[in-house]
Symmetry: C2
């Protein structure tokens, strides 16, 4: 292609980021005059084997975009070019806007299989059209937040910093990922735009290329520490412990540079951290901390700390940036109610819960979570907090609920402490945390 | 966050999509007056276990963006706000532009471990700044194209259509993914914006929600087929073979609707396809084809066809959309030459090839590929085609080379036919395809 390649998707094009059948089905609804109210529910059927919960994330971002979704002139023209759509339908589409309701879990809510993350109530000709986009928007943040929180748990209070921008799936994932990381509890990110936009501290050290561009490692260390007093020096370009000795030498000659940390980025991180710590301590440089990076995931971090590795902070990238062990969840957006009637697909071996719903999380006397109840939206469950909140009402964003997204990070930390231990375990396997159906939903479900 | 959430990244912000250390190192180069020419090489050290080659993709898109990368006023203001940068450096950055050269493999070139996908020659203060962005841009398209081509190979000439937009990692991956899919040889996509922008045929059928919103399946089939004569009907909402019988009934009553295909989306696809085929053939509807979808990957497609499943086309989504078995490659952008001298990091057990390079692919007498040679850019290898081409020269896009991106799809098909069989095998394992070093590089490499 020789034409300029557009960088991004702007507001006028976003409505076209959908699957073709959403548009052809909507045209069919339009032709059949089917505009009765529908409810679609967003949920996943199964946790990935290496997840004991997911962290719902991205719903606020999705709601903000969906509430202003429009088919602009250019979009209508491009649809006309496909010759699949009638003029009358395209006119209707030019006036289309979302006028329904969206209920969603607050961002940062831990969620289990079959629980609704989000429900859309609207004429079917509106609700159907949101499907592909809402799934794309919620999927990526939920997948990334759910991976990142495992790294935070594995690090046991030590800071975890995102170094993964370069290996994430494109520009949007890289920028919006930082939103998910902030919610999950990461301490910082190397991603400048992501961090600035989503208010997460910027962190950075130095790369091997900087060392290699200098005549020797000493020169590179000295120059960089002079430019950035209190910096972190990367010590593994040639020989890690030799690099540590050079840092010690530099600090003895020029203590005013106040090198704050060293970074290990290759080799046996546990052994090298022990060796480096011993050298630094012998030299009276107990205040210099050790940062480790190099393809780390939560299993490796857990093993390093279990083994007593004296590592003070972790930089993580590749594995977290694509959630390598579980890069996708089995997210579904299913019609559950139409024209006031429950609707459900009969799938052998699959649970499909009909009707609009509410999710309750019950507390015990000690303030710990005792279990979840998936209920009909109209049945009230005692002792449980109703988690799905109205984000969009009659097409308008609910500002109070949107503002709650800023509490997402605190919500995660608070919620995790309230779950039984086995929900937080990192190893494969399911927790015993109970998720039940409310009596009304149970009765309805068994009647199908 | 209550503020409006920006949808995407525009041109004025793109330069901020980088890792912080690229900017702090560049400020250090600026302070040290280090502007000597450098070469950085983009390559991966290892193929994922389930890949026998990768399909290089995204280089043209990256080159187009990098050649126009600027730090706009707003970007400079935001960097100033971090208090990490001096005014003099920010002034220099406001005038910064890429004035170097980029050599790259044409998109759609199969590539193996340690082979350069792309090399940047520029003052180090320019080349360093491209690292994070070029990796992000090339990574996602290369990962997705490399997965998609396996599905194409598994389908043995049958059309493979992308249904995966909803489960890809964000907006950019979803749109740009279609570019990679076109290169890899997919027949179509359900992704409207992706298909329109990147010139891949749009495909779509119908969803279970459409069936469920009607009073019964017959009504839904009849209505949809009337709206879209020659359409594909989804037959598995209730009972697959029962759904097929309803299609047969419809076609007997209203043959003018010309239903073209049925889609199976759940259950034992092989058995159901055989059952459906038998019913259709008995009814004299041999012309109705069978489309299968439902979490398919290349291993399942291969097994279905090996077992004789009468499936005519495949819709694939989740597994392909995140390249679930290999969502990331170990891509590196390494300094290999600075100020005319080779530079190399010494990493035990890792190969680091110094100096600017060229990649040659040798043909045998039958026009088959005989092996690759990674050589110094200045040494000439006989009988081999030099694959790295000048995409950007002195900061300007080379239009002739950019135009070659439009041949990427044909390039893939042609190249795959020229490799030994074992390069195309789908099972885990390495091929025997030889990748060697040129004599000059071999000599230089052994001297380190």
């Amino acid at each position: 292609m020789n034409e300029p390649i557009p960088l991004q998707v702007d507001d006028t094009e976003l409505a076209l980021l959908t699957d073709l059948y959403q548009l052809t089905m909507t045209q069919a609804y339009w032709k059949e005059d089917m505009h009765a109210p529908a409810t679609f529910s967003l949920f996943f059927r199964r946790l990935p084997p290496t997840r004991r919960f997911m962290l719902a994330c991205g719903q606020q971002h999705a709601a903000a975009l969906l509430s202003r979704l429009r088919f602009g002139d250019e979009a209508i023209k491009r649809l006309a070019g496909t010759e699949l759509f009638e003029d009358g339908f395209l006119d209707w589409l030019a006036d289309w806007r979302f006028e329904g309701d969206i209920h969603a879990l607050p961002e940062g809510t831990p969620v289990f299989a079959n629980e609704p993350l989000l429900e859309v109530d609207a004429p079917i000709s509106q609700a159907q059209l949101l499907e592909s986009l809402v799934m794309n928007l919620v999927q990526v943040e939920t997948v990334l937040a759910s991976k990142a929180v495992r790294l935070v748990m594995a690090a046991r209070g030590r800071p975890v910093v995102d170094f993964g921008m370069r290996r994430m799936h494109g520009v949007d994932a890289a920028v919006r990922g930082v939103r998910a990381y902030r919610t999950a509890g990461l301490a910082g990110t190397s991603n400048v735009l992501g961090g600035l936009r989503h208010d997460l501290a910027l962190n950075g050290t130095m790369a091997h290329s900087y060392i290699l561009a200098h005549d020797d490692e000493d020169d590179a260390f000295r120059a960089f520490a002079r430019h950035y007093p209190g910096t972190t020096l990367l010590v593994d370009t040639h020989d890690t412990l030799d690099g540590v000795r050079k840092v010690i030498d530099l600090m003895h000659k020029a203590p005013e540079l106040g090198v704050k940390a060293i970074r290990l980025d290759s080799g046996d991180l546990g052994e090298l951290a022990k060796g480096a710590r011993a050298l630094l301590d012998e030299a009276g440089l107990e205040e210099i901390t050790i940062v480790a990076s190099s393809g780390l995931d939560e299993v490796q971090i857990d093993a390093l700390l279990e083994d007593g590795a004296p590592i003070d902070a972790f930089g993580v990238g590749t594995q977290m940036g694509v959630s390598a062990d579980a890069p996708v969840i089995d997210l579904s957006y299913k019609l559950v109610e139409y024209a006031g009637e429950p609707r459900v697909k009969h799938s052998p071996g699959k649970i499909n819960l009909p009707c609009r719903k509410q999710l309750y999380r019950r507390l015990d006397d000690q303030g710990q979570y005792a279990g979840d109840v998936i209920a009909l939206r109209d049945e009230s469950i005692e002792d449980g907090e109703a988690l799905l909140r109205p984000l969009v009402q009659a097409g308008q964003l609910n500002d109070d609920e949107m503002a709650r997204a800023s509490e997402a990070r605190e919500r995660v930390a608070d919620a995790l402490a309230r779950f039984p231990d086995d929900v937080r375990h990192l190893e494969e396997g399911e927790s015993d945390y109970p998720v039940e159906l409310g009596p009304g939903l149970e009765r309805l479900q068994s009647s199908f």
